[in-house]
Every structure is written in structure tokens, then in C-alpha cells.
């Protein structure tokens, strides 16, 4: 705008930028970060490989290594096919493992200074955690879909209706979403990506194995069975299985409605408690 020969190509300071987060801007920021985090999953080969190959490897190994021996010991609804029993459980297991990526992604951003950059921008603070958990939900959905497809290919058949099957998938994903908040808290406390790896999988492994994910809990010793039957992974797995295979998949005395209700209770309360904890940990982690 002047008579100088050099055109003023550099931006002059802009006073028009927003200064307050509104509801609309919060949604917008969350979407921007969700998209960014999803791209991370697709574009980093190691992340993509880990999240696709690992679940399929689990599926194939368990089906073909354990399937023959275990098939006979299952409730009749499984029709003697371990894959029918395994698939709902594996869906939960993969969702739980997948939620771990929330911690790893967050610590990665923390250690690279990306979170600092976000915090220096006039954006909604909540978008960082929301964008992270939504993206992980999206990724989990894609992984579960892929695993289901392979499952159908190698013989999985739901025994109820397509709607109930879908409801089961949705329940598994909702559970994964609630666990994302637990993982966010873990990630924000350990802060270091490598430390996050073990901090995430250490608690997850025993919880997944001491549950009905792979086998019915009946044969476990009493002390373990009591724990297994009452921990959220079992409840969610039971509800999922009853939705996909029918109530015959449940133990004596268990019914779908109560397993479903308890599962939803777990999902809602875990989400509430841990999202609050995560917000607190986020504030603490960065100051």
C-alpha cells in the first residue's frame, strides 16, 4: 500500500483474530485436530502396520492354534466353532489395545513440543484431548471393521440379527472410547512415549486375560473368577457375546439386559471420571 519498490508481501499484524473460544470454534478446532490425528495413523507406516497387522495376527493365531482344542468346551451357541466365541471377545481386546494409542499419541505430541504450539494458539483447550480421543475412536472403528471382515472370511457367523451384531460392535467401540480417557491420563502422567508403551500394556494384559475374552471364566480358580466376572472387560465382552450369539453364550444366572446395563454403567462412569482426571492431568503436564 505504499510507494516503495518492494511489495509488502509480509503480513502486517492482524487484529481481527478471534480471542474467545465459542461453541462453534471449539467444534471447529476439535475437527481440525481429529483430522490431523487421523492422518497420523494413515501416514506413519509403523502406526498403520501396528494397528492392522496386530489384530489380524491375533485373530488368525487364536483361531487356528487354540480353536481345535477349545471348540468342544464351548457353550452350544458357538456351534463348536471357536471363532464364533472368539470374535466378540477379540473385538473387545483389540479395542482395549487400540485405546493405548491415545497415550502414545499424546506423549508423542508432548515430547515433540506440538502441545506447546497448540497452547500458544487462541484455540479451545479442550480440543486437544477431544480431537485425540475422537481420532482414536475413528481409528479403532476402522481396525474393528477390518478385523470383522477377516473374521467373516474365516468363518465367523453371528447367531442373532444384523442389528444386534451392529449394536455389539457399537458397544465395543464405546467401551474403547471410555478407555481412551484412561489411557490419556496415563500418557499425561508418564509423558515419555517409550515409557507410555509399557505403562499402557502392563495393566492391560492381565485385565484382558483374566476375563471372558478368550475363554469362559468357569474353569478359573474361585478367587480369579470372582475378579474376572466383575471387571468391566468381562461384562462388556459378555454383553457383546450375548448380542452377537444370543443369551446362551452367558453363564448360568447371567442375562443380556443386566450385562448390557452394567456395561453401559462402566462406560459412562469411566468416561466421566477419567475425562475429568485427564483434563486435570493435562493442565498439570504442561505447566
Amino acid at each position: 500500500m505504499s510507494t516503495t519498490t518492494e511489495p509488502a508481501r509480509l503480513p502486517t499484524p492482524d487484529r481481527a483474530l478471534r480471542e474467545r473460544a465459542t461453541f462453534a470454534s471449539t467444534v471447529g478446532d476439535t475437527w481440525v485436530l481429529t483430522k490431523r490425528n487421523l492422518l497420523r495413523n494413515v501416514r506413519l507406516p509403523q502406526v498403520l502396520l501396528f494397528s492392522t497387522v496386530q489384530p489380524i495376527m491375533f485373530l488368525l493365531l487364536f483361531t487356528y492354534v487354540f480353536g481345535g482344542a477349545i471348540g468342544q468346551a464351548l457353550p452350544p451357541v458357538a456351534e463348536g466353532e471357536y471363532i464364533n466365541w472368539l470374535m466378540p471377545g477379540l473385538l473387545v481386546q483389540i479395542s482395549v489395545f487400540g485405546a493405548g494409542q491415545t497415550a502414545i499419541g499424546l506423549t508423542d505430541d508432548l515430547s515433540k513440543g506440538v502441545i506447546d504450539r497448540f497452547r500458544s494458539l487462541p484455540m479451545a483447550r479442550s480440543a486437544v484431548l477431544a480431537g485425540r480421543t475422537f481420532a482414536d475412536l475413528g481409528r479403532n472403528s476402522a481396525v474393528v471393521t477390518l478385523m470383522m471382515l477377516v473374521g467373516f472370511l474365516i468363518g465367523f457367523r453371528y447367531q442373532t440379527s444384523f442389528l444386534r451384531f451392529l449394536a455389539g460392535v457399537a458397544l465395543g467401540l464405546a467401551f474403547a472410547y471410555s478407555l481412551s480417557w484412561v489411557m490419556a491420563v496415563i500418557g499425561l502422567y508418564v509423558k515419555d512415549p517409550e515409557a507410555a508403551q509399557s505403562a499402557v500394556f502392563l495393566p492391560v494384559f492381565p485385565l484382558v486375560f483374566a476375563s471372558s475374552v478368550f475363554l469362559p471364566t468357569e474353569t478359573m480358580p474361585d478367587w480369579l473368577r470372582v475378579f474376572a466376572d466383575n471387571q468391566p472387560i468381562t461384562t462388556v465382552t459378555n454383553a457383546l457375546r450375548a448380542l452377537m450369539l444370543g443369551e446362551g453364550a452367558l453363564r448360568e444366572g447371567q442375562v443380556l439386559s443386566s450385562q448390557l446395563l452394567i456395561s453401559l454403567g462402566w462406560i459412562v462412569s469411566i468416561t466421566l471420571v477419567f475425562s475429568l482426571l485427564a483434563i486435570r492431568a493435562y493442565r498439570r503436564a504442561v505447566d
Binding site: L10, T12, R18, G113, V114
Partner: protein, 344 residues
Amino acid sequence: MTSGAVDPIIEVQGVVRAFGDVRALDGVDLVVEPGIVYALLGPNGAGKTTLIRVLATLLRPDRGSVRVAGVDVVADPNAARARIGLAGQFAAVDAFLTGRENVEMVGRLYGLSARDARRRADDVLERIGLTRDAGRQVGTYSGGMRRRLDLAASLVGRPQVMFLDEPTTGIDPRTRLELWDLIEDLVAAGTSVLLTTQYLDEADRLAARIGVIDRGVVVQEGTADELKDAVGGSVLELVVPDEDRVTAVETISSATGEEVAELGGRRLRVAAREGSRTLLEVVRALDAAGVEADDIGLHRPSLDDVFLAVTGEPAGSDLEADRELADPAAATAGSGGRGRGRRR
């Protein structure tokens, strides 16, 4: 410059920030007028990054007040964020996004519409010389390109104040010159810049004013000239033949009554309290002693001397900084490790 009349763009008063027992900032006072480059100069651990983080709303001060662009940073951080740009000590760009995607994303988070963000991203990328590589994933960029991209991302919001934490550490000499030009253009376009640096030549070249920070306190403040004057008189530097060095040192010190510093090689340095009179005395004494100097010169103190006098240690006294001074391009890995460990 008309000083006094304009409102300062940065106003820091009595800022204290401790980490456990470490008082990273121990009562910092700082006033910066708008439209200039202000350089914060200080050794490792002086508190430069901590001060930048306080100014950029990333850290709350334990005590003291901070105003940036007229906004109280502690009371209204989001209003401050709309007016500032930050390029931290380590480039915070996403390796899995392209250069353009990185800048666009930051533009969106500044509150720009998708279309404005794209347009401004293109502008900024062109200005910073990354248009050709804008479509490539940042994972394939060199360290210098990442730093430039980081800067581009901070510029997309057209901030009134830019905070640059060691903007040219770990960057090759040519890119460094480009960045200096860019910073000067920024200021010409009306942005105020506060940068930290360990390079004295950088402060000398870019900064209208310099603050020397040490152990969490701004210990000296002024233009480069004012700082040099504050250190005191001139120095005399000589280069003498190797075989005459010992004689020269004795002769000069008895002629001036000052201690002679041997700078390595064949260079000697001595304080010249009386300027050219001292020069003459030294030349005469050397002549009488039969020593012929290869080179002799009277210098004003350099910022190096200022740094030494003010902080009690030569600029870049630790090993890492030495390497950076000698070879800025080789320092990326070292400085990265240094900061990571500290960031916690």
C-alpha cells in the same frame, strides 16, 4: 526513535518462576518498545526459554506481572494468544503432514476460515521460500527447512509480536542469513520480535536493543553500543611472530602495567585504558625491544567482552555451545538432546 511516548509491546515486572529449588526466573524486569527486534542474550540455563514460555502463555509466573501487546497474559491468556506467534527452541511441526498442511492447520487454529488459512499458508510459504517443497511430507525436510516451516506456521496468524527462541541454532550459515533477512522484513512490516540467542553477532546485527540475562535476572540492558560502552575502554589486539611471543608479552605488560591475555595462535590482547596513547606506548616499547608485530589494532569491546564482563563466563562457555558457535550446522542433534531432557 521516539521513546517514552509509545506504549511498550512487552512489559515484564518482577517475574519470578521457580521449578522446585531452581529459580529459573528470579525477578525479571523488561520493557520492549514496539516495532523492533529485541534480543535476549544469555548463557545456557539463564532462563531465556522460561521467560519466552511465560510471555507466550505456556507457563504461569509465580509472581510478577506480564503484559504483551497491551494484554495481561496471566489474566487473559487467550486474548494474548491471538496477538502472538511462537517459534520454540525446537521446531514443533508434524512430520506426517506436508508443509502446507502444517501451516494451514495452525491457521485454522488461529481461527481463520479454511479458505483464508489456505490463502495465507500459500503467502507465508512463498515468503519463506518453501513453496516448492510445500506439498512434501515434513518427514523428508532438512532441519533448516523445519525451522523455517515452524516460523511460517507462527506467521500465518499475523501476530503483533513474535517470540523466537534461538531461531538460528542448528542452521547452516546461508539459511541463517535468510532467516535474518526474514526477521528484518517482519519488523519492517510492523511486527515486533523478541528473540533469544547465544550468538553475539546475531544480536549485534539484528537487535535494536539487547538484554543480557543471567541466572534468571536481566543484568544489563541497552543498545549494542551502550552495552559495549558500559564494559569500559578499548582493547588492543596484536599478532606477533611466534619466536617473539614471550618477549612481547613481557614488554607490553611492563609498558602498560596490564595483564596480557594470550588468545591462542599468536594473538595477544591487552586493555588499552588510554586508547591511542596506550597504542603508541606499546608500539614504541615493542620497537625498542626489537619485536615487530605482524598486526596491531585498537578495538572497542565486542559483545563477547560484554558477555564476559556481565555474566562472568565467555559466551557459549559449555562444550555444546562452543560447538554451535564453531559450526552452527552441526549442532541440531546436540541441542535437541539438551532441550528434550529438560522439557520433561
